[in-house]
């Protein structure tokens, strides 16, 4: 199996987010970057598939120099090869990002390409399915269960209040949802081995964005509300507030 997994570096969610001087991006100076949490499920599923059916796992990330860090993380988890698609451009438009990723793997003879459900931060939740559509192969979003065989895949995807079963042939694109697996931690041995693996680099240029960030603003602060009291004694006042003031019940 020729397996590809796409990973993105994202700002650590604990971090304080500051809007940069240009008003359209966030200040990255003090930010700690991590592997997108949803991409951990993608890497794990790619590794399990290769372990079960044999094959090679290639990790690809599009971004600036520092995106090599998350490729290294995936290599430490056990992926075989890394590829950094280097660009200085902002990667805010999911369609242009997907076009660059699709160009890289279309015609490469891959069997399965794994994506996360969404990259936290921008939270588009689009790139995996965009890539599938652009190269014309089946793409399944929100995958929470997967069985891979040599001829095709079947599994489950999450919908409101339940799941849908799906099946299709290969090659295919899978965008992973939480619940699919428990991602492994990189072992010390894995981390040592990853240091020796080389990450291939390729310069790519992105087309002009069609979806354009016009501005970032801080949301209006929620006013601190009222603590109505302590314990069960405060309940009648709460119900009155919900009925008469907020009128929500």
């Amino acid at each position: 199996m020729n397996i590809i997994v796409f990973v993105k570096q994202v700002a650590d969610t604990e971090a304080r987010v500051q809007i940069a001087g240009d008003g359209t991006s966030i200040d990255t100076l003090d930010l700690n970057f991590i592997l997108n949490p949803f991409d951990e499920f993608a890497v794990e599923e790619a590794l399990r598939t290769a372990e079960k059916l044999g094959g090679e796992v290639t990790v690809i990330s599009l971004g600036n120099e520092s995106a090599a860090g998350v490729i290294r993380t995936a290599l430490a988890m056990g992926a075989d090869r890394g590829l950094l698609l280097k660009t200085g451009a902002r990667c805010d438009d999911p369609l242009q990002v997907a076009r660059a990723l699709a160009a890289e793997i279309a015609g490469s003879g891959f069997d399965l390409a794994f994506f996360g459900k969404q990259a936290v931060g921008n939270d588009h939740g689009q790139v995996g399915i965009l890539v599938a559509e652009l190269i014309g192969v089946p793409g399944i979003s929100m995958v929470s269960g997967l069985e891979v065989e040599t001829g095709g895949i079947r599994g489950k995807r999450e919908i409101e209040g339940g799941t849908e079963s799906f099946e299709c042939g290969l090659p295919a694109v899978v965008a992973t949802q939480k619940g699919l697996n428990e991602p492994r931690y990189a072992s010390l041995k894995g981390r040592m081995a990853a240091k020796k693996k080389t990450i291939e680099e390729k310069e790519v240029s992105l087309a002009e964005p069609l979806l354009e960030v016009e501005s970032l603003n801080y949301p209006p602060q929620r006013e601190r509300g009222r603590v109505l009291g302590e314990g069960a004694g405060a309940v009648p006042e709460l119900v009155r507030c919900l009925r008469e003031d907020a009128k929500v019940i």
């Binding site: 339940g162 079963s165 939480k178 603003n217 709460l238």
Partner: protein, 327 residues
């Protein structure tokens, strides 16, 4: 100036058009009014829509495009995308509004790729300057709001459920109904949905519920959620959970609210034994009214709650259930 808008109308055999579809129609009507006129079309892919098509007119559609096929009894990702793309060809909208349901979120990138047009997901606001539209969407765990513009047409805008209001139902309205001729390719049907497994529950799903009762680690044990179920039944609410409660195995993944769970915007969100970590707030900060019940008066959830009670959920919740029963 006038603007044509297309709404993706998700239809279910048993329940008809989803509430989020009516919300999208409402948003479409207001965009058309803001632009000084325009036509609102709705496209439905289904096995058979039948008389329900009149609902789309009653909530604001001027034109209804139907892609009815036997294989559309279940969701067909490629088939529905082809139907939406065919509808775009036909009505040439400047804006496509997609309800942010599971189906809508899956369809949005498919349509974007097929049309080579920009798409924004999880939109909670629309700003309009004539026919120029800017969509507002939360980003970075809700710590910022991102305003996005669209170069290229149509602008595909996927709307967060529960944020936009439907117009008032008007049964005197009617809509021209057109059948969409559709030629599906093998590729369109390569991905097959073979079945649906729904949890047997009459509770609304957390993503769409207008009232949500949510529990965290402070519920202490799975049994604790019994109380939440009782409370949610009393209100007709959906049940949510923090990641701590999901990771403990007390609730299914689908119930998780937050950055790695669902983003919700109900009228009422009751957080029980939830501390209010940023990743949890990311998913529920858009709620209109937030209630926090927590025994720690310093818990961060109180900073965003409209109403708070400091106390033990095992004392407060039974009292609350009793009080609601009094009616």
């Amino acid at each position: 100036m006038s603007i044509n808008i297309l709404v993706i109308a998700e239809f279910h055999r048993d329940s008809g058009f989803r509430k989020s579809v009516l919300e999208a129609l409402g948003a479409a009507r207001r965009l058309a009014a803001g632009a000084g006129g325009g036509e609102v079309s709705a496209v439905a892919a289904a096995e058979k829509v039948g008389d329900s098509a009149a609902d789309l007119a009653a909530y604001g559609a001027d034109k209804v495009l139907l892609a009815e096929r036997p294989e559309f009894a279940v969701y067909s990702p490629g088939g529905f995308a082809a139907a939406a793309a065919a509808a775009v060809k036909k009505v040439k909208p400047a804006v496509v509004l997609v309800p942010g349901t599971a189906l809508g979120r899956d369809l949005t990138p498919r349509l974007s790729a097929r049309l080579g047009a920009p798409a924004a997901t999880d939109c909670v606001g629309l700003e309009q300057d004539g026919d120029r539209i800017v969509a507002v969407r939360p980003a970075y765990t809700g710590k910022v709001q991102m305003r996005v513009g669209f170069k290229g047409s149509p602008a595909i805008i996927c709307l967060r459920p529960n944020v936009f209001l439907p117009e008032k139902e008007d049964r005197s309205r009617s809509a021209e109904t057109v059948s969409l001729g559709l030629e599906l390719t093998e590729k369109d049907l390569a991905l097959r949905i073979t079945g649906t497994e729904k949890q047997v529950s009459d509770r609304p799903d957390v993503a769409e519920a207008d009232l949500i009762i949510s529990g965290g680690r402070g519920m202490r044990e799975p049994e604790g959620f019994r109380l939440l179920e009782e409370l949610s039944s009393a209100l007709g609410a959906g049940i949510g959970a923090s990641r701590a409660a999901v990771d403990a195995g007390w609730r299914p993944h689908g119930d998780q609210v937050g950055q790695t769970g669902k983003s919700v915007s109900p009228s009422l969100y009751v957080a029980c034994g939830i501390s209010g970590a940023v990743q949890h707030l990311a998913g529920m900060i858009g709620s209109k009214c937030i209630v926090a019940i927590n025994k720690d008066p310093e818990a961060p959830i109180f900073k965003v709650a409209n109403y708070g009670i400091v106390g033990d959920v095992y004392q407060v919740l039974p009292a609350l259930i009793e009080e609601l029963k009094k009616g």
